[in-house]
Amino acid sequence: MLTKRIIPCLDIKDGRTVKGVNFVELRDAGDPVELAKVYSDEGADELVFLDITATVDKRKTLAELVTKVAKAITIPFTVGGGISTIEDVKLLLNAGADKISINSSAVNNPGVIDQMAREFGSQCIVVAIDTRDMDGIDFVHTHGGRKPTLLKTQAWAKEVADRGAGEILLTSMDHDGTKAGFANELTAEISSALSIPVIASGGAGTMAHFKDVFTFGKADAALAASIFHFKEIPIPELKSYLADEEISVRR
């Protein structure tokens, strides 16, 4: 049986993890390779690296990091953040990334999804959608959720799937950071309407939230950051909880 995936997300700046990581067993909590290895050994199903490096020349650092990660871990990983061209994708895939995630560049130029899917295959193109509820309507946002667009989230999700995205990473800006649970209704609506997998993100606070997003939310995978980084929810514990709740997980 295909299992539901648990995906820790690491924010990377200039080759280091940021946004706080508190892993007691690490020598250096800022080293993404070391952290990736811990997650991989603990049973994370995949990893996502989100590069928030501001400048273009520091991109080379990212490619070098991707190679180090690829050599060290035995599970798939996705790299996202500021990727806009075929060249960017080629560089990161050749460095060893399994998938890349695009966000603003897809909104600005939707044709890039078709292009990337044709060139590299849908399986390695994840489209990240940041969404926020505005007076009862869900709108796509860019720039880390700060800038609203006129795109309605449900329609955009369908469009990116039609254009060849292999997966959707759906982040609810309304839920992100609240630890009050995932956006289950919206996730379910999008996941049911599409034939590609949906990764839910934003709002994880308890183990029950993961169960809810896999059942009510119909998510194929769930992503979280700080609750894993601060060991509030250790992955092995989360997986035994989900297994007890009859959710299929890899152990």
Binding site: L2, T3, A70, K71, T74, D98, S122, Q123, I196
Partner: protein
């Protein structure tokens, strides 16, 4: 002991090379027929589209080379599908090492079953085979694919998604696996190290 990894226009061969490196194997990425022929074993990785890959192989006469090879040979993902007889993906005649047809997953209920089949799923009904020796108890491997090989006499492990399909094939010196062992944690490492000691 040298392992040749066949270079063709498929994505993500890098991760196969890194996995071999982790296992301490000497591996080269090559499309040179002489290097492939003289290697101790050969890995045929793959990700991408079947007809484009077949055309690429034919243009470089690698199709005949693969059919003639005598040493242990491992197809991975698209590599498995190309070793079969025919793929529904753009109606492609494949290499025909395994008399097996490759079909597209068609979910009856698209809410429950999505295509591609992405994620960790289990190897089941394992045959007694050197490639499957001493696998860990947890037999989850990582899949990303929209097409699958039908069950056949050459099937030595199955996986269930929508229905049972071929997870691993074996015949003579040819083995092939639909999942990505290079991305499948300890199980994948064991499969690769078993292949390296064939």
């Amino acid at each position: 002991m040298k392992t040749a990894v066949i270079k063709y226009n498929s994505g993500n061969v890098q991760s196969v090379l890194y996995a071999l490196e982790r296992l301490g194997a000497e591996a080269i990425l090559t499309d040179d027929p002489e290097q492939i022929r003289s290697a101790d074993r050969v890995i045929f990785p793959g990700q991408g589209e079947a007809s484009t890959a077949m055309n690429y192989l034919k243009a470089r006469k690698l199709d005949q080379l693969i059919r003639d090879i005598k040493q242990p040979f491992l197809g991975v993902c698209l590599g498995l599908q190309l070793l079969c007889e025919h793929s529904e993906e753009n109606d492609t005649e494949c290499l025909g090492i395994f008399p097996v047809k490759v079909k597209r997953f068609i979910p009856e209920n698209s809410q429950e079953f999505k295509v591609p089949h992405v994620g960790w799923n289990e190897l089941e009904h394992l045959a007694d085979n050197p490639l499957l020796k001493d696998l860990p108890d947890s037999r989850f491997v990582y899949y990303v694919h929209s097409y699958y090989a039908e069950l056949s006499e050459a099937t030595i492990a199955r996986t269930h998604y929508i229905h049972d399909f071929t997870a691993i094939l074996h015949r003579d010196n040819y083995w092939a696996i639909q999942a990505h062992p290079e991305k499948s944690s300890k199980v994948g490492e064991k499969l690769l190290s078993n292949f390296l000691s064939l």
